[in-house]
Amino acid sequence: MHQDNRLTLELPPDVAFLPAAVGAAENAAQVFGLDQGGALKLALAVEEFFAYLCRFAGREEPLRMTLSQGGTFVRVAFRFRAGDVSLRALNFAANVTLDEGSDGACAQSDELGLLVAARTTDRCSLESSGSGVYVLLAEVDRSYPEGEPLRTRQALTPPISVPQTEGGPASGLLQHAALLAAGRYPARACPNSFFRPARFADMVASGQYQALVAQDGAGRPAGLICWRSSGPRAVVFSGPYQFDDGPDKALGQEIARQLTDRFLSLVARTEVLCAFSERPTADVPQGWFERLGSLTLRGEEAHAPESQPALFRHLREDVGGAVWAHPDLVDFLTRQYDRLAFSRDILKTEPTPSARLAQHSLLATALDRRRGLALLRPLLDGQDFAANLSAHVAALLGQTMEDGGAPDILLHMDLSEPWQGALYPALQANGFTPRLILPHAGASDILVCQYVAAHS
């Protein structure tokens, strides 16, 4: 099957078709814009994933491999039945001991390929797609040059407008605005892509981000706000950023107000239920968002911890809902929901008995090296969950930021999943504490827990 930016192959789970899978990956990677190095990375990942899944995935159906262009990256997705697959090698903290011999259904040496593939790509994740069916995703980013943030002071002239053009703001305007924002706001308030502005523009062009650029009376970029999806019903926004350094603070406030108003108008009649930001700027108009709570982030080692508020705005009338929580978490959730005036039925859940769990758990890890921030998400429960989480914390704290470590570690728990709600004791035992709730940010509300042991 073929669409302009997608290629799908259904392959029998037989290594004889490995060259077909790898060849398609190499070819698609180049067509979809990766350079030679990127294409080789993707091909290597496909080779290892395909070989692994041929051995251990369910054999009753073909493996479906989809290669797609995501604007700034190329993605490969394998849809398969679980069979005897152990995906523990996809954990950030995974390591493989080659001489250890058999470990459950598949030997550790068999997982080496998975580990190599996971480390080769820029992101790896796993999604459940119905009973016993999973989708393994891996992405390789296109290369973009770094831009120099713009710090030149400027006094803008009214009137401010937020032009709405078909297809969104032009690439050049977006890149200019991103560099202006990067030069005026702390790095922690900016998406990473602002520092590689061509990447940011491509992310907007491909729909990964949406953005609005304000202009002043002379047509100069006056401000920026951007947002992206977070789950099916929420958007996460960054900004608003305003670029006026004139003496009249009112102009900057007007820029921020117009951007925020237009942003909300655009998302208000979509499928989105709420907008939130974990890195709002000080220019967010007063009273437009609710404060969900705050995180204490250290960022770079040299910096003192800073309180980072998380803001939220519901775009609809809340009709209540239900969340799952371990009994030890109920008091915190009750207090938070009461403070926010959210009505939720809190359903109690207990950890799944060990005997009914798979041996290995899986955590997704997203690293923001510029902010020194790691975000963990439980993907699969397993007997080793507590140990696996402990290994992740040790791995993230044990490395320098340049080596992929992160002084700030957050964990997002999706409260629509009973098994995730039941993980709380394991989190507590590993130094995580609940900080705030992101309503509707996942399939249901998401609880943000922060690793605090290192801060105390």
Binding site: W288, F289, R313, H314
Partner: protein, 380 residues
């Protein structure tokens, strides 16, 4: 493995938001832990239907539920014809005005066409157009009112319908006879002009244009009216469209038959026959409610927009959805306006004095709490 279902769905449907109605009152009361709920969110007429309609509803015999209603609301169209002195064939009755909006769009639009309306008005024109795959050109309100010049400027050769909500929901602004006449002359029959007059019975002003009279001189004018607002039959879902016979003949081809229930049809006929005192009493109730609310909003230093219709809109010092949740905890349900593209505004239906006083007590408390509460303030 079968294809993901999403791949079978057209792009314009995938991108479209499914409308999620409010949950039933008992469920909302359970969720918000309240023992009563004042419904001030849907602009319902709290007086209930006119006496004659009440009698029809009371007399409804359950065995009649087994019988199909008139498929094209024959007696109701006859009554409407008599009321307005028109051929009943010029009326089509639908299951609320949402259904007739869909009928008109389906009748006149094809691939590549567009409709024009305001950005901040009743959302269904825009929704139906977009989920049908047609572009909705949205024109910014000017001083809270439809902007006739900007709408005309947006017209192109593919513009098929202009929707004018008169009075506008949620701002209550309306075009007078002169503005409307000038607009219709400028359109010059190039597109259908829909005048949605859902709230016209609330306007007691001779400058208000009568769509029924306009369509006699402008063959492209189509009028929507409803029994859901002034006539308080929202639960029975009866709305209608009236236009030039040729226009209505085309709309009929796309219009669903048998969609209006029998009780709704007979209650609507009765309501039409007994509306003089009902309309007067409703207007008195709305005027009194406005007298109570507007001074309170001024005292609280909150901007408001109050025009025609049984509603007012007030700007709040915090997110409208937060105000909604806080009011719900006090047994009061208002309508958040973010979905109408008025972020930080709520709309309140104007009803009887005791309920308005309950609302004001709760509203003052919530506004006071929000102002005092640093959590509502990003600068805290």
């Amino acid at each position: 493995m079968s294809l993901p279902i999403a791949e079978l769905v057209p792009q314009h449907i995938r991108a479209f938001e499914a409308y999620v109605p409010s949950r039933p009152d008992p469920e909302l009361m359970r969720v918000y832990k309240v023992d009563h709920l004042h419904r001030l969110n849907n602009n319902e007429n709290a007086l209930g239907p006119p006496p004659a309609a009440r009698r029809v509803i009371d007399a409804f015999e359950p065995p009649r539920s087994a019988i199909y209603p008139s498929g094209d609301s024959f007696f109701l169209r006859t009554a409407l014809g008599e009321r307005f002195g028109m051929d009943p064939e010029r009326f089509l009755v639908g299951n609320g005005s949402c259904e007739v909006i869909a009928s008109v769009i389906k009748a006149f639009c094809e691939k590549g066409d567009n409709i024009i309306t305001a950005d901040k008005t009743f959302a269904v024109y825009e929704w139906v157009a977009e989920f049908s795959g047609f572009q909705a050109k949205l024109i910014a309100l000017k001083n809270y009112a439809f902007d006739p010049e900007a709408m005309l400027a947006a017209m192109d050769s593919r513009t098929k319908i202009l929707f004018v909500c008169n009075p506008n929901n949620p701002t209550g602004t309306w075009w007078d006879r002169e503005t409307m006449e000038r607009f219709l002359r400028a359109v010059d029959g190039r597109a259908i002009v829909v005048l949605d007059e859902a709230y016209r019975e609330y306007v007691d002003d001779e400058r208000f244009p009568d769509g029924m009279e306009l369509m006699e001189r402008h063959k492209n004018v189509v009028v929507f009216r409803t029994f859901s607002k002034m006539y308080a039959l929202a639960g029975l879902r009866v709305g209608y469209v009236c236009g030039n016979k040729e226009v209505v003949d085309y709309i009929r081809r796309t219009h669903i038959v048998y969609s209006v229930n029998g009780l709704g049809q007979t209650a609507a006929v009765a309501a039409l026959s007994d509306d003089v005192e009902h309309i007067a009493a409703t207007r008195r109730m709305v005027d009194r409610a406005r007298e109570l609310l507007l001074p309170a909003f001024r005292e609280l230093d909150l901007p408001y927009v109050s025009g025609a219709g049984n509603f007012v809109m007030v700007q709040t010092p915090a997110s409208d959805s937060l105000i909604y949740r806080q009011l719900m905890r006090r047994g009061v349900m208002v309508r958040t306006m973010t979905g109408f593209r008025f972020p930080n505004w709520v709309r309140i239906s104007l009803v009887q004095e005791p309920v308005m006083l309950d609302f004001l007590a709760a509203f003052r408390e919530v506004i006071g709490q929000v102002r005092a509460d640093g959590d509502a303030d990003v600068q805290a």
